[in-house]
Amino acid sequence: MKNEWPLWEIFIRGQHGMSHRHVGSLHAPDAEMAIKNARDVYTRRNEGVSIWVVEARHIAATAPGDKGPLFEPSESKVYRHPTFFDIPEEVGHM
């Protein structure tokens, strides 16, 4: 069973000028076949206009345990959002 094809992560750009989005994964021997398979599996109903494939082992990710230190600090910085600032109605739309 060591001959299993490597795993690829698939990213598709939808129709509407969006960025590529992760849609799933599949096995393929190489990038060319990964793209062919991704086209068959993930775009059968007009879901995309462009495909990226990346071998799964090349993706680096944050560890679930680091969620707190990495993302919690931004929770206390409400002033980074425009709604933090009250602008008088007379000023109009800003």
Binding site: M1, W5, L26, P29, D30, R44
Partner: protein, 330 residues
């Protein structure tokens, strides 16, 4: 249902007091509907139960191609043929989404396929029944995929992120399956007398196997409690079965066909249809491997896998050769 009788890998549901801190934190996430993702901590039994359930679900999608694939070359029109081909292709995709979800739990697809081929993992009992004629293909799309949708819509809320996302994707595609089946059977039910008889016969034969898809009664489902507590299962077998019966009876009536079970009767008090129990002895017998098509299905799967070995090996060898040549050129 596509996953029936999943043995939960646990010895009963733990109380909060019996849980470790880590287990309590995990259960809190589940209770607050926070999805569990692949690299999050999870109890080993949660992981094992999910691999069994998702694996069985994946196998069902793939084996489910066989009874329908059987009729691709004999579809009555070119349009029906193209539709059936698209449906069967979807099932291959569904199998892939599910194997991918299982893989995020650390089980390789090859390992799952091996377990299936060795008879150590199962697929849904429904695919061990034959598709004898074209009416069966309509009935399978309508009733079997209809039952699958009821189950899968509930599973969109399952606690494991990759499984839930696979279900959402599958549900979007699955309603095409049910509708094309109903459309095909509608043509026959409203066709010649002979066609109508075929439609009736298909419904009669497939009704009980279809409602068996949801698995044994709640009273007989000893494995469900932990799976419900972990939200691996979201609704009970009986709840889902009732939902399927309630939505399907009016569809049968619209076709002008006789109900396949004389026990089906509207129960004003419950606000649901009553119906007869399927023959559970038959169900357990099919699960054990003694249904009409168990042997054929498994040997067809194994043959397809073995016959494809040279293609998988060849493409891998080609890819390795190309990448070696590229390295040498650099």
């Amino acid at each position: 249902m596509y996953a029936q009788m999943i043995k939960t890998a646990s010895k009963g549901v733990k109380t909060r007091e019996e849980m470790t801190d880590q287990e309590r934190e995990f259960q809190d996430k589940i209770d607050n509907d926070i999805k569990i993702e692949p690299r999050d901590w999870m109890p080993d039994d949660y992981r094992r139960t999910l691999i069994r359930q998702i694996g069985q679900h994946a196998h069902s999608e793939v084996v489910g191609q066989l009874p329908e694939g059987n009729w691709i070359t004999r579809a009555p029109t070119l349009e029906r043929k193209a539709i059936l081909l698209a449906k069967v292709q979807d099932e291959a995709g569904h199998g892939l989404y599910l194997y991918s979800a299982a893989e995020t739990l650390g089980e390789t697809r090859d390992e799952l396929v091996k377990l299936l081929h060795e008879g150590r993992m199962k697929y849904s009992s429904i695919f061990n029944y034959p598709t004898l004629n074209w009416a069966d293909i309509g009935a399978v799309g309508w009733l079997v995929d209809g039952a699958a949708i009821v189950n899968q819509v509930a599973l969109q809320r399952t606690s494991y992120g990759p499984y839930s996302r696979a279900m959402i994707r599958i549900c979007k595609e699955e309603s095409f399956h049910a509708r094309q089946g109903y459309h095909a059977i509608m043509k026959m039910a409203f066709g010649t007398l002979e066609q109508k008889k075929m439609a009736q016969d298909a419904v009669n034969r497939l009704w009980f196997p279809a409602i068996m898809m949801f698995g044994p009664t709640d009273a007989a489902s000893t494995n469900s409690d932990q799976s419900m507590a972990w939200k691996i299962k979201v609704k009970s077998n009986d709840e889902l079965r009732q939902q399927f019966v309630d939505q399907t009876v009016p569809q049968i009536e619209y076709l002008g066909l006789d109900l396949p079970d004389p026990g089906i009767k509207w129960n004003e008090e419950r606000g649901h249809y009553d119906f007869s129990d399927p023959d559970w002895t038959e169900f357990f017998n099919v699960i054990k491997g003694n249904g009409p098509c168990n042997v054929d299905r498994l040997s067809d799967r194994k043959k397809a896998w073995d016959d494809g070995q040279w293609v998988r090996d060849g493409l891998l060898a080609h890819a390795q050769k190309k990448s070696a040549a590229k390295l040498a050129a650099e």
